[in-house]
């Protein structure tokens, strides 16, 4: 029977070996991720039923990334609970401050997730790992507890939709702009319960960092998972990085899709998602009258070294506009170190930006750059719901790192071309 890559990976993790969309299945799980907001509740659920031991400590990865460095006493207590749980259970893959990062950047970077895996994470953006040809989806704390305890979880096999991107994007049009464009087309429930499979010559040229950015935001269309096939770019990325052997799956040529959509991205502009929905997307040329108080460059969407390079290119030799606060957040310890070596942090500091340690921080309205009433931010993060970055009457505009950097310089949302003149 012909199957999509998503169906094949799921089938390989069931006792039957075959699956069809819509079917409820029990899947065995290769990697389970929890963070400081989802794990304490999961521990609570395990303890409630008297469970003592996780099924396999090797398959569990715990990363305190949301409210760390601990933002207050409650956060400190939650992290302590998680740290003690990791010690008690012998979970070696516990990443403390100093070696941690935002989980969705850290796990691929450290080779902890590999193609063909079934991965569940106690975080909605766990779909990020689909960028390297794995099945990855987000769950809540009780599912996280059940997975840690049994190594399996029930899932409904999703229908797949295929998104074919063609054409060479113009300068300054990044993976973030591609996924925002797709979200604008699909809407925030356009892929509800579905697998979003990306294909076409545009994505064949896209580095893993860009694929991670795109897979990261499929949940913003309601998708269960996003997935890219494994190719040379993936193999190169995994070389010397993957910690386990892996299996490569590809969609059959005659696999069935609930929907196939084609996008010509050759003439696309950088995109902006306006408040209060990631699907409320317009080209940057329609956003240049939006003034901003803060710029955030970071997060599981856009906190990788490639993102920081893009921002630094725009900010080099320039300063942020008076009254604008620029916050740069390298997503992992390794990225932070590289950004120092490459001189990127110097550029950010000289531009009058601040550089935060790795954390989800302001993206989730936690700390490290929360907005006041009436304030606006241009941010490379993934959500702009009401109150997402702070006060319910604050506003977040979702953009690429290049647009974020240009906006910091101009004090309003700006195209990078307005800062770096064409031909210069």
């Amino acid at each position: 029977m012909s199957m999509t890559i998503t169906e094949k990976i799921l089938a390989a993790h069931t006792s039957e070996g075959v699956v069809t969309p819509g079917e409820l299945i029990d899947v065995s799980i290769d990697v389970i991720m929890g963070h400081d907001l989802s794990t304490p509740l999961a521990i609570h659920e395990m303890e409630k039923i008297g469970a003592k031991k996780v099924f396999d400590p090797e398959k569990i990865i715990l990363v305190p990334d949301h409210f760390t460095p601990n933002k207050d006493v409650n956060a400190a207590e939650s992290c302590k609970r998680m740290r003690e749980f990791a010690e008690r259970q012998g979970i070696a893959h516990y990443y403390e401050i100093g070696e941690m990062g935002i989980a969705h950047a850290l796990l691929p970077e450290q080779g902890l997730v590999v193609p063909g895996d079934v991965i569940v994470g106690g975080d909605s953006h766990s779909c990020t790992y689909g960028a390297i040809g794995s099945f990855a989806t987000g769950v809540g704390s009780t599912d996280l507890a059940a997975a840690m305890l049994t190594g399996t979880l029930w899932l409904k096999v999703p229908e797949s939709m295929k998104l074919i991107l063609r054409g060479k994007p113009r300068r300054w049009v990044s993976a973030k702009d591609l996924i925002l464009h797709i979200l604008g087309d699909l809407g925030v429930d356009g892929a509800l319960y579905k697998a979003m499979e990306f294909a076409g010559d545009t994505v064949e040229l896209l580095p893993i960092s860009g694929r991670l950015t795109m897979a990261n935001m499929v949940v913003e269309a309601g998708a269960k998972n996003g997935i890219f096939g494994v190719d040379k770019i993936t193999e190169t990325y995994l070389h010397g990085r993957a910690r386990r052997e892996y299996r490569v799956f590809q969609s059959d040529p005659n696999a069935r899709y609930a929907d196939v959509r084609e996008y010509d991205v050759g003439s696309l502009e950088p995109m902006v998602a306006f408040p209060f929905s990631p699907g409320n997307v317009r080209p940057v040329s329609e956003a240049t009258d939006v003034s901003i108080d803060q710029v955030v460059i970071g997060s599981c969407t856009n906190g990788r070294i490639e993102d920081l390079r893009m921002a630094a290119e725009v900010l080099q030799g320039r300063k942020v506009a008076p009254g604008v606060r620029l916050i740069v957040i390298p997503a992992t310890q390794d990225i932070y170190g590289r950004a120092i070596k490459e001189g990127l942090l110097e550029i950010f500091l000289a531009a009058h930006g601040v550089v935060s340690p790795p954390t989800c921080g302001p993206c989730v309205g936690g700390h490290m750059g929360v907005l006041a009433k009436g304030e606006s931010a241009a941010s490379t993060t993934n959500r702009n719901f009401i109150g997402r970055m702070g006060h319910p009457e604050s506003m977040v505009y979702l953009v690429s790192p290049a647009v974020a950097a240009a906006s910091a310089v101009k004090g309003r949302i700006a195209h990078p071309d307005e800062v770096i003149r064409i031909g210069k």
Binding site: S38, P40, L41, M46, I49, T150, D189, R383, I386, G387
Partner: protein, 164 residues
């Protein structure tokens, strides 16, 4: 199982950030979650709700973050059931996992007003407006989800199968 309650109406795409802002999601205190239920849309919601009340919402209810304090807050504040045109998938799982029943109905939202008394039959999926008697039909709750509700949530469901 039959539920009675007063209707609280919400629009499409109610996300988990407005169901419970993140600063209130730390820890495991369910009562505390309940105090902040729907705070992002209506800071006084928790004070206005009576036990048994029912939320009726548009499409894609519970989108966004996977935070389980969202269904826990709704349950803790006393809401007995959420009816929506559709649900975001992680919220859907979380709700049944913690024992909050959900019904998806295409036309209940258009047919009920805020404050209406309604009667919901969880087994048949029938939603009846008490005054006037109009009846709407929701999709029946899948068998596996019914089992989860009967067992008292996912952890109790698996505890029955495991031996500690």
């Amino acid at each position: 199982m039959i539920l009675h309650g007063r209707v609280w109406k919400f629009d499409n795409n109610v996300d988990t950030d407005v169901i419970i802002p993140v600063q209130h999601t730390i820890g495991t205190d369910l009562e505390e979650f309940g105090k902040h239920c729907m705070e992002g849309l209506d800071p006084n919601f928790a004070a206005k709700v009576s036990p048994g009340d029912i939320i009726v919402a548009g499409a894609n209810f519970g989108c966004g973050s996977s935070r389980e304090p969202a269904p826990l807050a709704i349950k803790a504040v006393g809401i007995s059931c959420v009816i929506a045109k559709s649900f975001a998938r992680i919220f859907y799982r979380n709700a049944f996992n913690v024992g909050l029943p959900l019904l998806d109905s295409a036309d209940a939202w258009d047919g009920v007003e805020e404050g209406d008394e309604i009667e919901v039959n969880l087994d048949s999926g029938e939603i009846r407006v008490v005054s006037g008697g109009t009846i709407f039909k929701a999709n029946p709750i899948p068998t596996f989800m019914q089992q989860l509700i009967r067992d008292g949530g996912l952890m109790n469901h698996i505890a029955r199968k495991l031996d500690f």
